[in-house]
Symmetry: C2
Subunit: 398 residues, 2 copies
C-alpha cells in the first residue's frame, strides 16, 4: 500500500472537527445543541438575489472568464468605491470563496519555506493554505488584556528574517472580533514598506463594524499599492457561505498576473454563484442595515451575558461576529467536549470552538473559546444559560 504524503499526514485534526462525533452522539441522545462553533449565519440570503438566479435564462452553465464575469468585476469596482477603495476591474480576480483568494495570494507571493507573520489567535484555516503552499506561518501573539489589539510593531520587527515575505491580518478579526484602528494599520504600512513585504488583509467582515467605527481597508493606505493584497468574500455579508464566491484584489499588476495563472489552471469560479454574487450588488441597502442591527443586538446580548458571568473575561468585539472569550476552566478542548458529552441544561447544550486551534504557539488558548454569534437572540440567550450553568458545575472549573 503506497504511503500518503508527509504534508497530508502532518495536518493536525482541528479541535472543532474532533468535537463533531461528540456533537452527533449528543444529538442522538436528544440533546439540543446551540451551535456557536462555526461562522454559518442563520440570516437569510437576500431573496431578491436568489430570485435572479431562479429567473435566469441561462441554458448552458458554461465556464466564465477565469477572473470571473467582467460585468460582476465592474460592479464590484463600484461596490469598493463605496468604501473609498479605488480599484479597476482588472485589479480583481473572482475566486472560489475567500479560501481560494488566500491560496492564490500565498502561491503568487511566497515560495516554499517562505514565512508569513500572522497575529495569533488567527483563523484556523490559514493553516490549511499554508500547508498547501508549503509556507510557514510565524505567529506574533495578541493578548486578551487589550482586546487582541495589534501587538507592538517591535514584536513583528523581531520576527522578520530573509525568508519573511509578508504579514497577514484579518480585519475585522476572525476569531477575535478586533477591528484595527487607523494608527495600527499605519504602523503595519510603515513596516511592510521598510522591509519590502506584502501586506495581506482578509477583509470579509468589512460590513460588520460596531459602535460607530468605520472600516479602513489597507487598499486606502498611501504608498501601499504594490504591497497591499486583500481577500474578500460575499459569504458573510450576504449570508451566502455556500456560494463560494470571493475575490483577490490588488493594484500590484505582477501579483495579479501571477494569480491569474493559478486562476486559469482551475478554469473558472462557479457560474451559478457568480450570478447570485452579481445580483447581491443590487440588493437594497436595507438588507445589510437589518442584518447589521440584528448582529449588533446579538453582540450586545452576548457581551452583557458573558461579562456578568463570574470569572469570564470577554473583551468587547468591535467587528465581525465572533467573540474570543476567556473562561475559568482548565482546558478548552476538555470543556467543549464535556459540554457535549456530559452536560445538558433544559435538554440543551452549547458547542463552541476551543481556543487552542487558533494559536500556533503551543500551550496558548487553553482557557479561551471562540463563539460565533450567528444565532437569533432568543437562542443565543438560551445558549448563554447553558454556558452559565455549565461553568457552575464543570469539574475542571478554575
Amino acid at each position: 500500500m503506497p504511503n500518503i504524503s508527509k504534508r497530508g499526514s502532518s495536518i493536525p485534526a482541528s479541535p472543532i472537527r474532533k468535537l463533531v462525533p461528540f456533537a452527533e452522539a449528543a444529538k442522538k441522545r436528544g440533546v439540543h445543541i446551540y451551535h456557536l462553533n462555526i461562522g454559518q449565519p442563520d440570516i437569510k440570503t437576500p431573496s431578491s438575489a436568489l430570485n435572479v438566479v431562479k429567473e435566469s435564462n441561462l441554458e448552458i452553465v458554461a465556464y466564465s472568464h477565469s477572473a470571473g464575469f467582467e460585468s460582476y468585476r465592474k460592479k464590484l469596482v463600484q461596490y469598493y468605491d463605496r468604501f473609498e477603495i479605488k480599484v479597476s476591474y482588472e485589479d480583481i480576480i473572482v475566486t472560489t470563496g475567500g479560501s481560494e483568494a488566500i491560496l492564490f495570494g500565498v502561491l503568487s507571493c511566497l515560495d516554499r519555506g517562505d514565512e508569513l507573520i500572522v497575529p495569533e489567535p488567527f483563523y484556523a484555516n490559514y493553516n490549511g493554505f499554508a500547508n498547501t503552499g508549503g509556507i510557514n506561518l510565524v505567529p506574533v501573539t495578541a493578548h486578551i488584556s487589550n482586546g487582541y489589539a495589534l501587538p507592538p510593531i517591535e514584536e513583528f520587527e523581531k520576527l522578520i528574517t530573509p525568508k519573511t515575505k509578508g504579514i497577514l491580518i484579518c480585519n475585522p478579526g476572525n476569531p477575535t472580533g478586533y477591528l484595527y484602528a487607523k494608527e495600527e494599520l499605519q504602523k503595519l504600512r510603515d513596516i511592510v514598506i521598510k522591509h519590502d513585504l506584502f501586506l495581506f488583509s482578509d477583509e470579509v467582515y468589512r460590513e460588520f463594524c460596531y459602535e460607530g467605527h468605520e472600516h479602513l481597508s489597507i487598499l486606502r493606505l498611501d504608498g501601499l499599492d504594490e504591497h497591499a493584497i486583500i481577500f474578500d468574500s460575499i459569504s458573510k455579508r450576504y449570508s451566502a457561505c455556500g456560494a463560494r464566491i470571493g475575490a483577490i484584489v490588488s493594484k500590484n499588476k505582477e501579483v495579479m498576473a501571477t494569480a491569474m495563472k493559478y486562476a486559469q489552471a482551475r478554469l473558472s469560479p462557479p457560474t451559478l454563484a457568480q450570478i447570485l454574487a452579481e445580483a447581491t450588488l443590487d440588493v437594497p441597502n436595507s438588507y445589510l442595515e437589518e442584518a447589521f442591527v440584528e448582529y449588533d443586538g446579538r453582540r450586545r446580548l452576548l457581551i452583557e451575558r458573558l461579562q456578568a458571568m463570574d470569572g469570564v473575561i470577554c473583551p468587547s468585539p468591535k467587528g465581525a461576529f465572533y467573540a474570543f472569550v476567556q473562561l475559568p476552566i482548565d482546558d478548552a478542548e476538555r470543556f467543549c467536549k464535556w459540554l457535549l458529552e456530559d452536560f445538558s441544561y433544559k435538554e440543551s447544550t452549547v458547542m463552541m470552538a476551543p481556543g487552542t486551534g487558533f494559536y500556533v504557539t503551543e500551550g496558548l488558548g487553553k482557557q479561551e473559546v471562540r463563539m460565533a454569534y450567528v444565532l437569533n437572540k432568543e437562542d443565543l440567550s438560551k445558549a448563554m444559560d447553558c454556558l452559565e450553568e455549565a461553568l457552575k458545575v464543570y469539574p475542571g472549573r478554575q
Copy 2:
C-alpha cells in the same frame, strides 16, 4: 516593491492563452472564429436539472458538508454502480470541479519534489496543479503512429525512481481522445502494484466512448483498491463546466481522510451547483444518449474531413471529444496565430490549441494541434473548410 514568488513566475504562459489577444483582434476586424480550442460544449445543460435549482426553496446558501451533500454522494454511489464501479458514499468527496479533485489527489499523495509519471501529450492544466503541489510531472511519450496508445510499459518502468509516487492517466484522453484498452490498464495495474505506486485516473469523459467501446474504470481492476484514485466531474457529461462540481473517489481510506483535511480547509464545494449536480442524476437517459449521438456525428465528420486533407494525419479517437491531429506545417503555435492574424475564408477562421502546450518534452507537438469538437456539425464543417483552405495557402506549409 516586493517580489512575487519564483513558483508563480516559473509558470509559462499557455500557448492557448497567448493566442487570445489575436483572437480578440480578429473579432474586432469582423472575422468570425470557430472555436475548436477549448472544451466548452455548446450542448445545453439539462433543463430539468436547471429547473430543480430554479424551483429550490433554499433560503440560506449555506456551507455544505466539506465532502459535499450526503444525499448527492449517496446518489453518486448508484451512478457509479451503473459502470460497475462499486464504492460507498464515504469513498467520495465532492470537489470544486475536477480541478480540485486533481489538486487534492496531488496534495494527499505526493510531497514536494515527488514525481508523477504521465503519458504525454496530456491535459495542460495538470502543469498548474503540479506547480501548486510542487511536484514534478515526468512524461512518457505516446505517439501518433498508434493513435497515442499507452507507451510500452517498459518505458514507464525506466522512469521509476525513489521519488516516483504514482502514474496519472486521462481515460478517455484529453487531448488525444484515446481510450485505453483493458490490457493497457492491466499493465498499469501490474506496474503500480509491483512498485507500490498510486494510479490516478482522470475519467471525466467516461460517457464518451465511441464505436461500441466500453469504458473501464481503474476502480474495477482487481487488487487496486489501495492504489486507485479517480478524478471525476459533471462538467462534460452534463455540459455544466461552470458548475464546478467534481469528485475524488478512492477506496483507500487513508487517502480519503487526508483529502478530507484539504477539503475542510476550503470549507465546502459550491452549494447551488451541488443542487444542480444532484439533479443531473435524475435526468432521463435520453439526454446523454442524444448528446452521445451528436458528439459521435461530429467526431465522424471531423475525422472524415481531416483524413481527406492532404498531409494531415488524424488517428480515429475512440473517446472524449477531442482529436489530436498532425498537420503539414512548420510550427503549430505560428500556424494557429497566423490563422487568427493573417487568414480568413468567407470572413471566418478557426482557433485551435497548439500541440506544444500538451507536451513536457521540449520540441514535441510542433506539428500537432488539438481540436475540441464542441460545435454543431454545420459549424464544424465550416471550420474544416477554413482549415482546408488555410493549409493550401499557409506560408509555413511543409
